[in-house]
């Protein structure tokens, strides 16, 4: 208005009478007011339209929602519900509007609800309002109590509190959860059982290999020791040592192809056959031939076994031996220092029937040693994937000097440990030492 006064002064230069000036002011003011009112009304209408559109949109969303949306006032009275609410609880909206929300809750929650509301309104300490979802129980029209997922927020409308609850029916989720928990429990149980069985099997397997050294303390004519260190719990390597009669000691070492339980079962079968065959067959090549034929029967699973076995005549020191695809053993009996023994080359056991094997003989004198092993020894790897190798084994034995059957094996095991520097063991490491002491 100050600008208007200034303009009036400039234009009329004081030639207006007081009445004229005042009337002009009134007219101008009226025009301003009219224009302003018009603009304000237009703005208000625009806002109203926006607000109506927004309401419509919310209403349609609310209507389409899968979740139940319930609006209650601060006394817990239901003001609006959406169609999902009707479906979820089994009521028509007019049965719900105007009633207390507690009708949708089972006891004891229904009775406690008014109290909760009051407490919140007085203390303003939210327990579930505005917080993350809560799992609660709801009650349908037919009395069914079901699990629901609830989120509550507060709105202030004209100074009064209103509460919006969004509810998801969790019945199906709960069923699925239960199933999953059940399945998980069954799996756990199965795993435990399997592990237990595996441990039992390992123990049984270990017990099959003679390990109660010295095996024949009364026999001073020989000193024999063996060890098998499996790569995993269940191994495929085996050895056997037993007196066939007072004069003959049988030794054998073998390697079943494959790993795990099936290898262990085959190993057990092979050892049993071996012991049985040695009852009435005293020539190693004949034992192998018969063993091979036995193993070829029912060999659908492609089981192959390498085996080296020999019989020591305790009185004479003759050691007769035969081989089926196995690593040649070492001895110092031939030339005074350790070297690989000549072996008759034959195919592994279990490949085909009626294979002919051969026996060879080496004369042991008191102090001589025969050392048998499996490829877990020579194929032990270090981090750089270098192999322990035949050469390293030979060198170790050559420099071993005077040792007992047990200390030789301990020496080789220690050296393998050192060489592999903690690399994971990939194959069973098995060794058998026969030290002849003479009569």
């Amino acid at each position: 208005m100050a600008i208007y006064e200034l303009l009036k002064e400039l234009y009329f230069k004081g030639e207006l009478s007081l009445w004229e000036s005042h009337t002009m002011t009134v007219f101008v003011a009226a025009i301003f007011a009219t224009v302003a009112a018009f603009l304000t009304i237009r703005l208000a209408n625009g806002l109203l339209k926006d607000s109506q559109q927004a309401r419509l949109k919310i209403a349609s969303i609310n209507h389409a929602l899968f979740d139940a949306v319930i609006l209650i006032n601060e006394r817990g009275i239901i003001e609006t519900v959406n169609p999902a609410t009707e479906r979820m609880f089994g009521y028509k909206d007019k049965e719900l509007i105007g009633c207390n929300i507690k009708m949708l809750m089972p006891e004891p929650f229904a009775s406690e609800h008014n109290g909760y509301l009051q407490q919140f309104l007085t203390t303003r300490i939210p327990k579930i309002i505005g917080k993350t979802r809560r799992e609660v129980l709801g009650k349908r029209a037919n009395g069914d109590i079901f699990p629901m997922d609830l989120v509550v927020s507060e709105m202030i409308n004209n100074g009064r509190s209103e509460f919006i609850g969004i509810i998801r029916d969790m019945t199906d989720y709960k069923h699925a959860e239960l199933e999953i928990t059940k399945l998980r429990q069954i799996e756990q149980q199965r795993l435990k059982t399997m592990q237990y069985e595996l441990e039992m099997a390992t123990r049984v397997q270990k017990n099959m290999l003679p390990s109660d050294f010295p095996l024949y303390p009364k026999h001073k004519e020989f000193d024999v020791f063996a060890s098998m260190v499996p790569a995993r719990q269940i191994g495929g390597d085996f050895y056997d040592i037993f007196l066939m009669d007072e004069n003959k000691l049988f030794v054998a070492i073998g390697d079943v192809s494959g790993k795990g339980i099936s290898a262990a079962l085959h190993m057990a079968q092979c050892m049993a056959h071996l012991r049985m065959l040695s009852l009435y067959e005293s020539r190693p090549h004949k034992i192998l031939r018969k063993l091979n034929n036995l193993l070829c029967e029912n060999n659908g699973s492609g089981l192959f076994i390498t085996l080296c076995c020999g019989i020591l005549d305790i009185q004479t020191g003759e050691f007769i031996y035969s081989n089926a695809g196995h690593n040649p053993p070492l001895t110092n009996a031939i030339n005074g220092c350790f070297e690989f023994m000549p072996v008759p080359i034959s195919i592994v056991l279990g490949y085909m029937k009626d294979v002919k094997y051969k026996s060879l003989m080496v004369q042991l004198n008191p102090g001589d040693t025969v050392f048998l092993y499996t490829d877990g020894v020579t194929e032990a790897e270090n981090q750089q994937q270098d192999l322990f190798s035949d050469e390293r084994l030979l060198k170790l034995l050559v420099t071993s000097g005077e040792m007992t059957a047990q200390t030789i094996i301990e020496l080789v095991n220690a050296e393998i440990d050192r060489f592999t520097e903690g690399s994971e063991q990939s194959d069973d490491i098995t060794m058998l030492t026969l030290h002849y002491l003479g009569v």
């Binding site: 192809s257 494959g258 790993k259 192959f304 695809g325 080359i345 592994v348 085909m352 490829d375 990939s426």
Partner: protein, 112 residues
């Protein structure tokens, strides 16, 4: 481990293996090897020139396919293994059932 198969004249299939034939390597090629040496194919040359190590699990794979091949009256040969691998093959007596041959020409000749 890697494996591939090529067909030569006269229905001879040459299977080329590459890498270490240990437990893990064998797992890589086991099934494929069986597939490549399955019926009705009968003549196989297994090229081991690029295999630098073979463990008993690898021997088993070779023996199994040899057994199956011989049962079908087919033929299988091993081509040109390196000295280390050859040593292991000889020790296991593999050459008694699968001939080990140095050159491709001789291997092809052995198929007839």
């Amino acid at each position: 481990m890697e494996i591939n198969c090529e067909q030569l004249d006269g229905n001879i299939y040459k299977i080329n293996l590459k890498g270490r034939m240990d437990i893990l390597g064998n797992e890589d090629i086991d099934l494929k090897f069986s597939g490549m040496t399955a019926a009705p194919r009968k003549l196989f040359i297994v090229d081991l020139s690029e295999v630098n190590f073979i463990a008993s699990i690898g021997l088993r794979t070779l023996l199994l396919s040899a057994k199956a091949t011989h049962n079908r009256r087919g033929k299988i040969a091993i081509l040109n293994p390196d000295s280390q691998v050859k040593k292991i093959l000889l020790m296991a007596g593999i050459d008694l059932v699968i001939p080990i041959i140095d050159t491709l020409d001789l291997a092809i000749a052995a198929m007839h």
